[in-house]
């Protein structure tokens, strides 16, 4: 029975991961390219140079292809909530419903209205109105993402709610706390600005591909200027918000941070691993070394997590044991996971008693039980764990994804900066004539690399918070519906086929449009 239950959980997680990751192949390009197209059209509006118009229309077509094929792929995730994750959907109450409803309204009314003006309105509305529509499409896409990310951030840091044991639902007490939690703010800027990087890498890479074929040089240079600027601003802000994300994670999800670093036993003045190979045999509580090989930067993790180079950063074993080292170097006992499991089970028992007393109408006893629930509610999820180690996520996957993301992020910062320098300095470009084609190839391969970097970020965020569907309150095995594993497997494979077909359609139509653009003379195009 236990194995079967784990199968359902694993298949449901796999299905959600599959659909979310396919969805995320489309979304960041929409977010990034939307801003780039809006900037290009602004350049056309200001200069009235027909070449900017041709460039704008070329990228707008690619934006349209990606938007059209990606649209509604996210709706599948909502289907899964209602069927596969029904306990979660009920328990989370309106916290998830409100942001998703706002997202739906914004996505439908704002994007569908203004995107039509973008594509159909060139000769029907004034240039100013058209430009406004293009910007509003880009802003609308980011606002849609905001509400999804607010909902996701709440799952990582549930705040602004009160649990109602009568309805078994969380009820929102402060929309502001939910929408503006530090987790939501850093997640929004980190995610949306990383999409700008992807949009920038896409534009630079596609332009480099066209330059390899020796066509439309001026169009490509115009495009690369805008793409590299957006990509550079994006990677700088993504780095800054990555730093604030680390502080937030250290505060609210310390186990995730420990997994990101493969840190088992923390210390004050904790170094950060710049490069490392984990010991695959290492388990929580044993005496093995955590790394087979590592290159560390002194004080790095203390600085990243707390902005204090002296600070203690707890590792996996410290968190399980409830061990903390204060500023004097003394070991301080905090609540261990074993204690949290105990308190979580008290909360569960109180919840069960509350249901019985409620049916019997015993109001006085209900008040007492309610107080018991409230005092233990923060630990509710731990009560479902069979052992403390269950609260440890997949360390290798989180660790390697995090380090891949950071390494590629560093590469992208250098790539965008070098691209900007070269595009503005023709003499420097001339000096690098022999390696030019190599540079173009590098730019093309930067596109898939940026996608992998973006995906790695989501793996860190989502795998790193396991086993929780809602941090500390609800593990996956409780959030899941009572379905058979076979049922979920069937829909998993249906989605795998449908989404793969959509991806093939997306890539093939995009490639066809890019090839068509490279064959036409965009610098002399008449419109």
């Amino acid at each position: 029975m236990s194995n079967l239950l784990m199968d359902v959980v694993d298949w449901s997680r796999a299905q959600f991961a599959l659909t979310a990751m396919y969805h995320w192949l489309f979304v960041p390009l929409t977010l990034g390219l939307g801003v780039i197209v809006a900037i290009m059209e602004t350049a056309y509006y200001r200069t009235r140079d027909e070449k900017w118009l041709a460039t704008t229309k070329f990228w707008m077509t690619l934006f349209g292809v990606n938007f059209a094929i990606g649209v509604a792929t996210g709706i599948i995730l909502e289907f899964e909530f209602g069927t596969n994750w029904s306990n979660y959907s009920w328990f989370v109450g309106d916290i998830f419903g409100a942001p998703l409803a706002v997202e739906g309204i914004l996505a439908f009314f704002m994007e569908s209205t203004f995107i039509a003006v973008m594509f159909f309105g060139w000769k029907k509305v004034s240039p100013k109105f058209h430009l406004a529509a293009t910007w509003l499409t880009a802003i609308g896409a980011s606002l849609s993402a905001l509400w999804i990310l607010v909902a996701n951030a709440w799952m990582q840091y549930p705040t602004g709610v009160t649990f109602n044991p009568d309805t078994m639902r969380n009820e929102m007490t402060s929309f502001l706390d939910v929408a503006c939690s530090p987790m939501a703010v850093s997640k929004f800027f980190h995610t949306v600005l990383s999409a700008w990087v992807l949009g920038g890498a896409f534009v630079v890479g596609v332009s480099a591909w066209m330059l390899l074929r020796g066509r439309n040089k001026a169009h490509c240079l115009r495009s690369i200027k805008v793409g590299a600027w957006v990509g550079f601003v994006g990677i700088v802000v993504t780095s800054i918000t990555g730093d604030s994300s680390a502080v937030t994670v250290a505060k609210y999800q310390p186990m995730k941070l420990a997994a990101m670093e493969g840190l088992y036993d923390g210390q004050r003045e904790q170094p950060i691993v710049a490069f490392g190979i984990l010991n695959p045999d290492k388990q929580p509580g044993d005496d093995r070394d955590a790394y087979l090989f590592d290159v560390s930067i002194p004080y790095g993790l203390s600085l990243l997590a707390t902005h204090d180079p002296q600070a203690f950063v707890p590792g996996i074993n410290d968190l399980i044991a409830g061990r903390f080292i204060d500023e004097n170097g003394d070991t301080v006992a905090t609540m261990s996971y074993a204690e949290r499991m105990e308190r979580g089970r008290h909360a569960q028992e109180a919840l069960a008693r509350y249901g019985e007393l409620s049916a019997a109408g015993d109001r006085t006893a209900l008040e007492q039980v309610r107080a018991e629930i409230d005092s233990n509610f923060a630990h509710l999820g731990y009560g479902y764990l069979d052992k403390p180690e269950e609260a440890v996520p997949n360390v290798p996957l989180t660790f390697y994804s995090f380090h891949f993301m950071v390494t590629v992020g560093g590469y992208l910062a250098v790539f965008m900066l070098v691209t900007l320098v070269l595009v503005y300095k023709p003499k420097w470009r001339a000096k690098l004539k022999k390696t030019r084609r190599l540079g173009y190839h590098l730019a093309v391969w930067t596109i898939p690399l940026t996608y992998l970097c973006s995906m790695s970020g989501w793996i860190v965020a989502e795998v790193g918070r396991q086993p929780w569907t809602i941090q500390d309150l609800m593990p996956n095995k409780v959030a899941i519906s009572d379905l058979s594993a076979g049922y979920v497997q069937v829909t998993f494979w249906i989605f795998a086929v449908v989404f793969t077909a959509l991806l093939i359609a997306d890539v093939s139509i995009l490639c066809r449009q890019i090839a068509k653009g490279s064959r036409s003379d965009l610098d002399k195009a008449e419109h």
Binding site: T61, G64, V65, A68, I69, V71, A72, I75, I76, F79, E80, G82, T83, N84, S86, N87, W90, F91, A116, F119, F120, G121, K124, T167, M168, P284, G285, N317, D318, I320, A321, R323, S336, A338, E339, M341, E342, R345, Q348, E349, L351, A352, G355, G383, K387, P388, E389, V478, S481, D482, L483, V490, T491, I494, F495, V498, L502, A505, I509, Q513
Partner: protein
């Protein structure tokens, strides 16, 4: 004034023509709309209708019934140990 009303189409008609002419002038867009149409049919008619019913609605028609169902899933049930024993060995392993 009267002449203007007869010759200038109303806002609804203008919006209709805007979309109609827009769709009619599309090239790659027709393929995309075909993909969107097929996708929406597959998502909403086949996948949602056949495979993704609202699970809790299948358990109870009322919100009270759904709440009790979820309470049952989230609280100790028959067959589960009534008293949970924290494994002291596990706890001490980390101390």
């Amino acid at each position: 004034m009267g002449t203007d009303r007869r010759t200038k189409p109303g806002p609804v008609r203008r919006v209709w023509r805007f979309y109609r002419d827009g769709f009619a002038s599309m090239t790659v867009g027709r393929t995309l709309w075909l993909i969107i149409g097929i996708k929406l049919v597959v998502f909403f008619v086949i996948i949602k209708w056949v495979f993704f019913p609202d699970f809790l609605s299948g358990q109870s028609d009322s919100d009270e019934g759904k709440a009790e169902y979820v309470r049952g899933r989230m609280t100790p049930r028959e067959g589960m140990p009534q008293e949970y024993i924290i494994n002291i060995k596990i706890r001490t392993a980390y101390e």
